[in-house]
Symmetry: C2
DNA sequence: GTGGATGCAAACCATTTGCACGCCA
DNA sequence: TGGCGTGCAAATGGTTTGCATCCAC
């Protein structure tokens, strides 16, 4: 994503353009397929651009509030952030090795109307977190761990 | 659930029978439809049976490990516990008033095989958390908040 | 120049843990 | 009676916040 696009995206959302915000946004867009926690982001940002973990948290939260990022609290108690490309995706995480795979479709879509009818609720969001064993770990387990 | 069933259930799972564990298990079974957080459980247990919040946490975690309870970390950062009746259910929570409704079916079931084929993962578990507006809040919003 | 952005350290808060005491098997 | 369960207080750890300083506009 070009320098200009980044800056416009920030300005359009009422955020002042700073080195930190630009860097975090660029980084999240580059790794749009990988949900990341604050510490990972912090480790990827050069210290001279942003030297404080709390600032990374502040930036991630601002970008999330503006809808530029999506954030999800995983069952391990850690918040993961991801560039919001507008696509709606879910991931499955291997409970042994941590490998991540993306789902092609969201199982929810087909059930949206059904649930609306079933419960009378309007669905405004959902979290869908899968755990499982990836093919590699399955293989290793079979051959005696 | 009778006194005896409770005690057997604990013993069968290798847990010593204590007043605290019995009381928590009884309580969770009685309210099997309502996911509860540790503090709620603590408030429901008579002080003379269990006087410490940390003990409630310990009991809830033990019962969860043995599979007698299910535990889920919600997006608000709080762990909710629920009696594990073997049924598999999901809930939708109104983001305005907090009302909870149960889903009749689990959207996941239909997708289990599909995801296995899609990603090669064996699914060992999933968290499915919905947020939405209940009919009452929808109504209130329509008529000017 | 000035209000928002950042760095640092301290606060937060749900949950966990260490240790001394007490109770179930 | 011996080991596990409990109570209390202190620790933990990811995240947030207060405040002084700094930078974008």
């Amino acid at each position: 994503m070009t320098e200009n696009l980044l800056e416009n995206l920030l300005r359009k959302n009422g955020l002042k353009v700073t080195k930190g915000r630009k860097e975090v946004l660029r980084l999240m867009e580059k790794r749009k397929d990988e949900p990341m926690k604050a510490e990972q982001v912090y480790d990827l940002v050069p210290r001279e651009i942003c030297s404080s973990l709390s600032t990374v948290y502040r930036i991630l939260n601002q970008l999330s509030q503006k809808g530029l990022l999506k954030s999800t609290l995983y069952q391990n108690g850690i918040m993961y952030y991801q560039y919001n490309s507008g696509e709606h995706r879910h991931y499955i995480v291997c409970s042994k090795c941590g490998k991540v795979a993306a789902l092609e479709n969201c199982p929810m879509d087909a059930f949206d109307n059904y649930i609306r009818k079933d419960t009378g609720f309007d669905i405004t969001g959902h979290v869908f977190e899968l755990t499982g064993l990836c093919p590699d770990c399955k293989e290793k387990l079979k051959s005696g761990k």
